[in-house]
Structures are given as C-alpha cells and as structure tokens.
Amino acid sequence: MALPQAKIDATEARLAALAMPDGAQWARRVREAALERFRKMGLPGPRDEYWRFTRPDTLNAAQTPEAALFDADEPPAFSGLDRLRLVFRDGVFDAEASDPLELEGVEIMRLADATSQDIHWAKDLYGVLEERAQDPVARPFAALNTAFATDGVVLRVTGKPSKPLHFRYLHEETDSDAILHFLVKVEEGAEVTILENGPAAARFNKCFEIDVADRAAFHHIRTQGRDHERRAVTHLFARLGEESAFKSFTLTANGRLTRNEAFIELTGDNAQAHIAGAAMGDGDFHHDDTVFVVHDAVNCESRQVFKKVLKNGAVGAFQGKILVKPGAQKTDGYQISQSLLLDGDAQFLAKPELEIYADDVACSHGSTSGAIDEEALFYLRSRGVPESEAKDLLVLAFLAEAIAEIEDEAIAADIRDRLEGWLLRHRS
C-alpha cells in the first residue's frame, strides 16, 4: 500500500538529516535493507493504530528537539555494585571513562569494530531479530536504528561473567540525537546481567537484539534517566531457546516522552520470559510500554508486570500482547498493567490483548486504574504514620509486584531507594 505523501515527505526529511555509517560489506547490506524496510513503513503517524496512545511528533522531527541538561542530585544507580562500566557520552562510546573491555566469560566489542569485520555470530544477529519483529506490527524506529546506529556494543557471552556489564549514559549536549544498537549473544548455558542507566541524549533511539541460546540466561535492569526533557524510543528484541530465561526490569522516572517496546519470542520449549516496569510521572510526562510476547514452543512461561504512578497531568500508556502460536501448548502467559493515579489530572491508557491458537494454555491479563486506597491510608495513619509517609508506603506497595521481578536483592534495594527518593521529591 502506498504511503500518504505527507508521510513520505516527513520520512525523507528525517532521513536527510542522517548519515549511514561505514562498515564491512555485510553490515552495509544489513543497513541498506533496514533503510528499505523503514522507507516502506514510513515514520509513524497519529493514524497508526500502534501509535494511538503516543504522539510520535518529537521522535519524527528532522531536527532534534532540545532537552536541558539534568543536574543529578543523587548518586547514579548501581554505583555501589561491582560492575564493568561502559560509558556513552551523548551516544558516543567513551573508552577512557570506561573500564577495559575485558571480562572473563564474555567477548566485548564496539559495534563499529564488529561491523567492520567478518564475525559470523554478529552477522547472524544484527538486524535479524529486529526484522523478525516487524511482522505483524511495524516498528519504524527500530528499522531506522538498524540502518543508522552510530555506536553500540556487541557482546558474546560464553560463560558466567563474575559481574554485570553496566551501560552508563551521559547527556552533555542539549541537542544531541543518539542512536545506539546493542547485540547480545548468550551462548548455550551462559548467563549475563546487563545494567543501564543515565540520561543518554536529548533524543535517544536504542535497540537491543538479544539471542538467548538453550539453557542460557539474560538479566536486564535499567533505570531511565531522571532528565525531565528527554525523548526516547527503545526496543528490546529477544529470542529464547530451550529452557532459557529472559528477565528485564525498567524503572522510568521523568522524561517528556519515553516509548519502551519489547518483542520477545519464546522459540525453545520450557523457556521463561519476564518483563516488568515501574514508571513514575509527575507533570509533563508521557510513558508508553508496548510489549509483544510470542509463544512458539511448548511449556513456556511469560510474565508482563507493568505499574505506573501518575500525577499532575502525567500520562501512562500500555499496549501488551500475548500471541500463542499453534502448537504452543502448556503456555503459561500472565500480563498485568496497572496505574495508580494520584490526582484527577493523570491519565492511563491501556490495551491488553491475547491472541491464542493453541487449546491447552493458561493465559490471563488484567488492567486497572485507581487511586490511593483511603481505607488503607486511614489504617496507616491511625497507627501513627504521617499522611505523606503513609501515601509513599502505599505507592511502594503498589509497585512491589513489578520490583519483585528483580532477582538480585542488592539491585532491588537500590531501585527501591531511588523510588523512595523520587517520592520524597514529589510530595505534594
């Protein structure tokens, strides 16, 4: 179907501002193919069903909308953990600020280095999972990312590294437009933890393609920066082998526009995928979690747990789908999306979906939106807990199910501390 002229014009204007990085012939082919995909889809518009809840204007704009720099008033997330740090400044890898790219059990390489060489596993992954995820729903910013990513890291995990890898993002230019692409190949039986945090750029487009082999495990915890004015669109693409595990948790506080998409395919029997998010918005805040889980094997389990705390005009959106393909028997799919609206101005939009083509499955989904429980609030106050503290306690209780998805207790404690800090700063 031909795209409307306005869409073509916007798409071409966006492309005119971008330059495709150089690389080996195979990488060039991957990028060109992604560009072709992107041109066919065009930039998203308000008429696209998948963008019904979120206006993509600022993501579409050829010129990057400016975003003020954020003065951090607390130590960055994960500071207290032993980890391998990889630092990106406005979307450019900073080798000097990073730890040496050496860690037992994992090969680490910059994207530009990997795409200028003939590395077979990277060739099998780059743009591959992204392209698989383009059907049945177009994800134009992901195709754009594959075509134009300027930096990133590729990881091949062969063992069980002794510490997590930590991608730390720094934002220093008010008009930076960063496009990062990460490849993670977790080989059979291997296990890795990836941490991400920090404001990355004024506008940030990020893709992860994650291939989790049989009996391998991938853990991911990210906190999206507290920079108030950023616009970000991120994608997690994952393919899971037999008895493998994928666990991802995201904490989002602030940000004018954040769209986090995930597309997870369970392709091996007995695999497990958990994806969770806690989002806190006050004022000019729009947060969108768009998740698509495909069950394409027997006896797999998936969980989606998304919680949003919204006030003062903040908007939260959730689009979550569980697709159970024919033959994916014994599927256990769970999805919950909930919002806690702290005042009458906040808004939550949700579209939970199940599409099931197997007959022996257990799938459930739920979506709710509500205010603080006045009975519980009075109960706490009657025991001497001041009102503001009691409210914070109830907000944390509301988020508990999402935070419980973090397996590492030290990381969970760090996340809880940040939430408490946010609540303290945003008491009304």
Binding site: A376, L380, S382, G384, A390, L393
Partner: protein, 251 residues
C-alpha cells in the same frame, strides 16, 4: 484519661445525626465497656475518636489527657497515645507486617521527639510480643492482614497495640468473628497490657468477652447516647434480658 462531653456527630454526606450528646469519662487504669444494640453509634464513636474522615462534629468535645483530640490528625492522635483496634482490620497488599509496625512505631517516636528504635531492638521486641499472642514468624513477614483469618487479623491488632504501647486503647468489637480459644488469646493479650497508666474502652455486643476482660464500668449506648451506666453486672443483665428493658427504662 479520655473525656467526652456532649459529643454530637453527623455523617458528612447524609446529614444524618449519629451521636446525640455522648458523655463519657474513662480514667487512667480503668476498663470501660460500651454495649448497645446495632446502630446505636458505638463504632461511629470509635471512628470519630480516631479521626476517620466522613464525620462532622457539630457540638461537644473529646480530650485525651486534656489535649483536644478533635483538632488532631489521625497520626497525631496515635502519637498522643490513642489506639483503635479495628472491627475490620484493613488488608494492605505489598506492605510487610514488620515494615508497617516498625514504620508506625518509629513515626510515633519521632512525633514525640524520641529516638527511633533500632532494627535489632525492634526485632527482639516483636518476637517477644508475637510469641505471647501465638503469632508465627511467617505472619510477621506477610503483607499486613493479607490472607489472615479473622482470628489472625484480630490477634494482629492486639500485637500492634502491644508494640505501640498506647495510653488509651479502644477495642471495636474485637470479639466479633472469634472462636473461644482465639477470644481467650486476645483477652490475655489485652489483660497483659492493663496497668495504672493505661485505659481501655471495650466496645462489644456480647458479655462473653467481658468474662475475660473484666470491666470496671459498663455503659449502655442507644440512639447516639449513653443511656445507662453501671458495674459489670449490667453486662450480665443485658446477656440475660436483652436491651429492651434497659431501653424502656431510659425513655
């Protein structure tokens, strides 16, 4: 300890008068019981004293050790020493019982200008108190009242009372939904707290609880007022003859 004078209260939303001039004085060291038929205003009295929303005091006063209760926020009343054991304890998913109690205890201490209790001291204290009420360690770790049986919820209320050591304890139908053994446990918990500096107001429908928690004074409440006051024998009279005679007499 607790002084209530000519208290008139109406429901905010319905413009309906519930309390029509309650007078009550509960001195330190004593146990007073309030009995009365359904709809007499017993629970309303307990909610108004603890500061729940939805009620409007149209006349009268209530003081705790001379301080005006009605001017205080619920948390300030708690810190001042008032405690209400709820008829229907509230379930709070996501908040651990221990976290809840420690937060409450330290918040009260902070309000009173006292030092917070250390985690170790708190743990020691709660284990000790829980043991007396036959509350398992598992129940302390679970979210507040979630999945608790009726009896467990009431015992949990008494545990909170024991931990917070209030001066003025109001028990709102704490016996409802309890079997004989559970009632005895709850009563033992309450009796253990009886002392010269503390007062109790026990609201109940049945005389049975008062066999275990012996009151000094029994009040009969009807239609928003205290209509008769007497000794423990008054509770027996109600048990044997019902409220009809007393109410007829009061009119």
């Amino acid at each position: 300890m607790l002084n209530i004078k000519n208290l008139h209260v109406k429901l905010e939303e319905e413009d309906k008068q519930i309390l029509k001039g309650v007078d009550l004085e509960v001195p330190a060291g004593s146990v007073h019981a309030i009995m009365g038929p359904n709809g007499s205003g017993k629970s309303t009295l307990s909610y108004v004293l603890s500061g729940r929303d939805g009620y409007e005091v149209t006349e009268g006063e209530a003081t705790l050790e001379g301080a005006d209760l009605l001017e205080m926020e619920p948390e300030e009343r708690a810190a001042a020493g008032l405690f209400l054991a709820f008829q229907y304890p509230v379930e709070i998913p996501g908040v651990g019982n221990m976290t809840f109690l420690r937060t409450a205890l330290n918040a009260q201490r902070k309000t009173r200008g006292e030092e917070e209790m250390s985690a170790a001291d708190f743990l020691k204290l709660i284990r000790d108190k829980a043991k007396g009420l036959k509350i398992e360690a598992d129940m302390l770790k679970r979210p507040v009242n979630v999945g608790f049986s009726g009896g467990e919820k009431k015992r949990n209320e008494i545990l909170q009372m024991a931990m917070l050591e209030p001066k003025m304890c109001i028990l709102d139908e704490t016996d409802s939904g309890l079997d004989v053994d559970a009632m005895r446990l709850v009563a033992d918990g309450v009796n253990a707290l009886r002392d010269e500096g503390r007062a109790f107001l026990v609201i109940t429908h049945y005389q049975r609880l008062l066999d275990h928690i012996r009151p000094d004074v029994v009040h009969i409440m009807a239609d928003g007022r205290m209509v008769k006051t007497g000794g423990p024998e008054l509770a027996l009279e109600v048990e044997n003859n019902g409220y009809a005679d007393i109410l007829a007499e009061a009119v």
